[in-house]
Amino acid sequence: MADQAARRKPAIGEIAPPPSERHGLMRGGLLAVLTFLGETGLLSVQAVGSIARYGVNVGDLLNQMAAVGADSIWIILTITCATGAVFAFYITNLAVQIGFTQFVGGTLSYGFLNELGPVLGGVALAARSGAAIAAEIGSMVVTEQVDALRAMAVSPVRYLVVPRVLAAILMLPLLTVLADLAGLLGGMGFAGAAGVPYTEFLLSLRQFVQPLDLINGMIKAIVFGYLIGIIACQQGLRTRGGATGVGRSTTSSVVLCVVMIFLTDLVLAQVLTQRVRHP
């Protein structure tokens, strides 16, 4: 039977591999996931060890923070402002129809501070700065610049990984605050145009939103910042094979960062919501 299945001609358009190959792919996929988790964990431990042993080069850190902020701020402001406006458009449409316009500001703010601000900020940071980090480190690997660091007794973890991961951890919460403001401004503008007065919007915001919502968003931003920094560095450092390899690492970095942001968000949303006390 197995021989028959193996000899069976694949149907036109069929892409599923034969069973034996499928098991191989599953094994390969599992191995890739374990390798990724292992390497990322090891790099995190090395980065913490480096900070404990050598501290942080403030100059390198400030350079990276400036690069991360400058790279991502306009993308983050643009997409969060637009998302706030679209979100407000749908909520206001519904609210006007069924008469609960006093909830529009609160709903939008609650959603933005807890979820949309950090997640959209994280995705934008992963796409812009995470990709740039993976590409830069990947290029350094294939042009032997990372070997040159080691040959000069300079640890790549200390010089490349620590400042980039810390920059992402420190900058994403700041960018998230700006993202929240941009989203709320976009939402308030659109809601105002659709018939929800600004005073009612702000009153609703004050009624429904607590400082804890902002803190929850900041906690998410810190975790996402760490994930983006460490994954981008790990993907950059494992680059092999010239320009093609750099392209592959950059793409993988963005994909892995975005997937990890959403998976971690799933857990964080559950954990952090337990802390919130709403009226």
Binding site: T143, A151, M152, A153, V154
Partner: protein
Amino acid sequence: MSAITVRNLVYEVSQKRILDDIHLEIAHGEIVSIMGQSGSGKTTLLKLMTGLLKPTSGHILIDDQDITGLSEADLDAVRLKMGLVFQYAALFDSLNVYDNILFGVVRHKRLSRKELDAIVRDRLDQVDLEGIEKRYPAELSGGMQKRVGLARALAMKPSIVFYDEPTSGLDPITVNTIDELIMDTRRREEVTSVVVSHHLPSIFRISDKVAMLHEGKIIIYDTPEKVQASADPIVQTFIHPERNEKEENSPHEGAQAERQRPETLPR
């Protein structure tokens, strides 16, 4: 005491043996060249000697200290004695020549601005590239990048300098300049030099000893004169590929050479 001792060195990747039972003894102040065909394991041997790769088995001693079992942090102390000149220079794109040269120095020594300026000036003067401190690697030619790479490697005043293909892809005049620099560096700094290359005129001109790698093994390690006079057909085919070509073109001798030649030699 030797500057570098390599004993029973084996290096394997995915169960493929890249280097097999390598032995080398390099005295202080010597210039030793390692030659061999592309893919024979020359650069791998260099990276093993600098601790950038870990061997599968065997020992590498730098000034009688075995580096094979050292952690990355402990290796750093040994690496401060070494300078490495990379095949494609490996200068940091984001830094100018001044910062590239001082990259290691500022991270390991506390020096005043005047002292740092003096190091850059001296090293650029040594490689005959004065006045390019503010330029970035992308603004330099391949030969200039290699010379800046050498200046960077020498900035820490190493006692051993490793050169990976220092003359590959360069014009004959720049090749000559690089050769002079390697010899001049030995004279001025009394450094031990290990040069990986397959540029034969340079090898025989600058070296005190020459090792030839073939299929992961060192098949000869001797003075340039003795290597050139070696009767080993593999060595002779590598040194005089044109003779081999002539023999191939002559019907009678070509057939004889074909019978004698190992399969792995260049065709």
